[in-house]
Symmetry: D2
Subunit: 375 residues, 4 copies
């Protein structure tokens, strides 16, 4: 693991998600840019001192020197955005698979280079757009794919948060600091941090591509340099229209990612904060509320749930579904087998590049007087 | 009453709303462009035959001939859009107050003429943007006005319906026919019929003015000429940003008008389909769910509710609040008194003109390559 | 109308409910036991002074003297419980139909006498167990009747309120005063006021009869003499079991009457505070959320709704459904026709007697050491 | 681990819950009464063959022979009810701490013996009444304890499920088979399996003791011998009243454990299926919706959550909270320290005995003609 030392948020999430299903064991790490902090963090995690490294470069080098079967199988990168690319590149170049937090890199050029490297090395590269790991998101995708809604006409995807309503970064809150810092976060703030999740979710569920965007980004909190709110009109490759908005100043909102998809025959709605429920509506039939574990669901949805109906599974379980699929694919490789196609269902470096393009284009669109930019 | 004969929808709504509080009695009508139908409808409503008229012109003329105190007090106009202006104009010119369904007229020019007439005659002109009649909408407006949310930053207002997902107008469904017909509905379809409600609600609650719009209207159902879906980016006069979308092809949606308003200190959310609830969220406090009849509400909200907490009041009661305020204002005029300022809280011809401007500008914006049009 | 003068609650509800559909006109009243208050209330309601009476006896006598066609058609009784019987008896004896608030009388003996009188006179007697007027309650009843749930096994019916959590009657609150006074309310407090609604709703929807009860009533607020909370185990005539609880000290609850009915094949749930929704659950199928106005509903449900899906109808509309059915039955009688069977769907004096039996038996059961009392 | 081999449900839950926080590692097991199945299950779990045992007796014996520091620290028992006592007794007698699934034993006598053994050995014994592990349950408990609701008056606790609506046990469904078998499940069916959770939750949150019960158990599915539904009236040691009902034939219900607690000043409501929400209601203030991660919560609630507001934590996380507290207590013991009092917050063998008493008494009460049995 690279990053995720004391005080971090997403590192612990990755560790819990990786541990949940008993398929993955944390064996080493470079947990902080501060070597002392890295050591201390490793000790917290019951790791032997010799596998807690001062830098990611040391980790990759030393692990590679270990005998096969006794070295790490893959690298998890959980650092701030500007520190994704260096360890990812080095890992790939040294033959290690990669699981990387999103957005994949600091800018689009880096993402393109990673795509090139992954294609060259044929290594696995998973991107933790974790919201696609939820069973009912997979159900939604399968329903659209199987034509249950008919041709898609409209998509509304929202990602409101309120935690950056005040200038938290001025209070030295670690999560706020790097996310609002253009040198560590990249070209966009809210749009990069959570807008990309919304974009990814919309394309994942609908199977469509966004082809044109018209964006209006804002920075409401004075003293902040990156956007903390953005509204975007969308046009899709099949003629569907849509709206995407993401915000970190929607005061009082927690983490309310949600999506509505409307087709000719029906519509569906999913809320991340009530993740085991998928509400479907129909032209002339009653609303059907699909629930994880109830009635007939698509195999993709069934495989992504662990426990019976009414026993809520949440964020960590969805996150774990990405790690579990990666683990199964690695096991298949080790066994010299083709992976089960269902296990290939995790976001990759290509989704990462798409996200970087999204960031670049919404920032451009917001600054432009032209209405539509292609995407 | 003009319009609202057999087979109509909104006419019956106006009658129930007017009757509810025992302040208003239906005394005459020209219920249909078909005189026979008008007669039959009048009989259904227990009206004496001599006060059921063949045309609105006859009604206004004959009622005016009746002795004062024995003639109608005001005219309710509940016809399709293209037939609002003629009776409204004639009523005003003959000294009758007017209650008119929305949008106020067929086009902006007519609306401007009505504004002029109302200003000249000093008669009452109420527009049934009925959603502003809900107690919790009034509570929301009062909360914003009193600064409870701080400066407003973001507004999301939505009006999804699904009933025009198929070409219902081809099946001779009366409500669908005129709403999708540019000769009777006006320049816009969904945007005129329900988008104007959304626009009105957003400005009513926030007290702000929309100053710039960027719209993308669509017609998804083949063979239809007016828009059945539209997405609009908004900018407000205080720097707030927003999104408005309205749709009649959001398959399976009933009548889900809803609004979210976020300020520096908190946010609020109201859903028309759960109208007695106002959800408020705060930066560092728990969510507060305000309910009609529970705890301390603003006087405007209290006055708009009739029955205790937990006894749901709905659409007709909100609609009736407009009629009741009109009745109270008429009574004040008859008594030679100033009306209670709270009774002046109903939409007027000025809101109607604003709505016609909105229709005109979203249609223009949708056709334009320029990103922002002033509004 | 008897009762319902200034300061009353339910009288205004009856008036709005009766007025809503334009079928019923208030023509006279004895609005208060205080003649001055009665006069003033009648003036508020725009009634001619000569038809505002000092007492119900005077009203019945004088109205009877008026020529047929110019007298009241029926009497609405909206007084506290102890004053239901005298006007109801006199009205029936003088040939007037009756609409009466619930519980029907002060005690069971009075209810039995009314049943006898109604049977003798063949007059209409409607009891405003208004919750059975909701469209989705009628839908639920029809679903059970048509076997959609299979044989019924379990019923849970709840009626929690919190408004009597403190000794409001000591503050001279009118609604609290008579409801907590054994001389005006009867043998039971909460169980009479709202427990009877729950009992009525359970039997109405399921079509079953409660045959055994085991009750535990409490008075939590010190200084109060009647129960303010009660829990009851139920057994039904088909072997189903159930729970009924009603409370006026469930702090913070508004008026949350709700019911769940489970059969062999499925279950349903209805909440009075979200009345246009009926949630149905099934053994191996997704939850179906039925909504007023969406998809195929039973004719009884359709007839009880006035406006399209997503336009909420509430308490007053449900209440009005009782009045409307009564009006239709009266019109049929006047026309010498058989009423439409669907219009006979309103609670009668027999439901009233059943309620009085319920009150009597839960009070007995609560005081008894025996587990089960027959009902 | 004892039990939890292939085909089991709760064993996997225990493993995921134990693994989640990186504090506990599975080191050995006797996963099935069938030695072959035990071996295979151990291999699935990546355990070395020599630590996969044929029987729990072998496991306990052999692990005890291993050097200290290299043997298991505690035993998790996840077998059907009748097989809890033998391994628990042997583990305690051999110095191993125990985590045991609920209900703690097959009958009360066994539970009493375990209480004795735990008291004698001073070993840790955790019972996985996992629902007390949810952050908002801990918040509810703390609110009651701190008097926020005032003196408690009424408790309604429900546990409806529908999965045994048909005779699933006849189809050889493993979970159904043992739960409906008096030889493996004990004296009660639904009341033992889930009624004890409800009883435990009510006493945990309120801090009160149930002192009297009046029960009505039923077996609705023909051919079944244990209860599949039960309704119970409750009286508490402070004078509060209540209702508890649990069911496995509430068709269509998933796992809807929920509780409402009303005091003099306010009420609260928690639903297991929406676990991160705690709805609180007040006499004269708006509803407050408390959410994991939002605003000020009690330390007990904060400590039980891992990730920020709006990132749903579910059943496994609540379950893991029990394991994590056990792990922290074990670490304290190993370090020779007193445990943090907050880490002692997990159900113990005493809760287990209480549950067995509950089972015994509700069965007796249901068969009795006497209304109230002491508890």
């Amino acid at each position: 693991m690279v990053g995720g030392g004391r005080g971090a948020f997403i590192g612990a999430v990755h560790r819990m998600a990786a541990a949940l299903d008993g398929q993955i064991e944390l064996v080493c790490g470079a947990f902080s840019s501060d070597p002392e902090r890295s050591k201390a963090s490793g000790a917290d995690l019951f790791l032997p001192a010799e596998r807690v490294y001062a830098t990611f470069a040391e980790m990759i080098r030393k692990e590679k020197e270990r005998p096969e079967g006794d070295r790490m199988d893959f690298v998890s990168i959980v650092t701030p955005n500007h520190m994704h690319f260096p360890p990812a590149k080095m890992a790939l170049e040294n033959g290690f698979h990669v699981v990387c937090d999103k957005p994949v890199t600091f800018n689009k050029a880096e993402a393109e280079e990673l795509v090139y490297l992954v294609d060259q090395t044929d290594l696995l590269f998973a991107l933790t757009h974790n919201y696609t790991g939820y069973p009912m998101v997979k159900q939604a995708k399968a329903m659209v794919k199987n034509g249950e809604l008919g041709n898609i006409r409209k998509v509304v995807v929202e990602y409101p948060q309120g935690w950056l309503s005040t200038r938290l970064e001025a209070e030295d809150q670690k999560q706020a600091s790097w996310r609002t810092d253009p040198k560590r976060s990249g070209a966009a703030g809210a749009m990069g941090d959570i807008g990309t999740h919304a974009e990814n979710l919309a394309e994942y569920i609908t199977g469509l591509k966004i082809t044109q965007i018209c964006a209006d980004l804002s920075t409401f909190v004075s003293g902040r340099s990156l956007d903390d709110d953005g509204n975007v009109l969308l046009r899709f490759n099949n003629g569907a229209k849509g709206v995407l908005h993401a915000s970190q100043i929607s005061a009082g909102e927690e983490n309310d990612l949600n999506i509505r998809v409307y087709g000719e025959k029906g519509g569906l709605r999913w809320h991340q904060m009530d993740p085991n429920t998928l509400v479907t509506r129909w032209l002339d039939r009653p609303i059907q509320v699909l629930r994880t574990g109830v009635g007939e669901l698509y195999p993709e949805a069934l495989a992504a749930a662990r426990i019976p109906a009414g026993h809520p599974e949440g964020y960590l379980e969805a996150f774990a579904n990405i790690y579990r699929n990666v683990a199964f694919c690695l096991q298949a490789r080790l066994a010299g087998k083709e992976p089960d196609p269902m296990h290939l269902d995790f976001p990759t470096v290509h989704d990462g590049l798409r996200g970087m393009q999204f960031i670049e284009r919404v920032v451009e669109s917001s600054a432009s007087k032209e209405k539509w930019l292609s995407f």
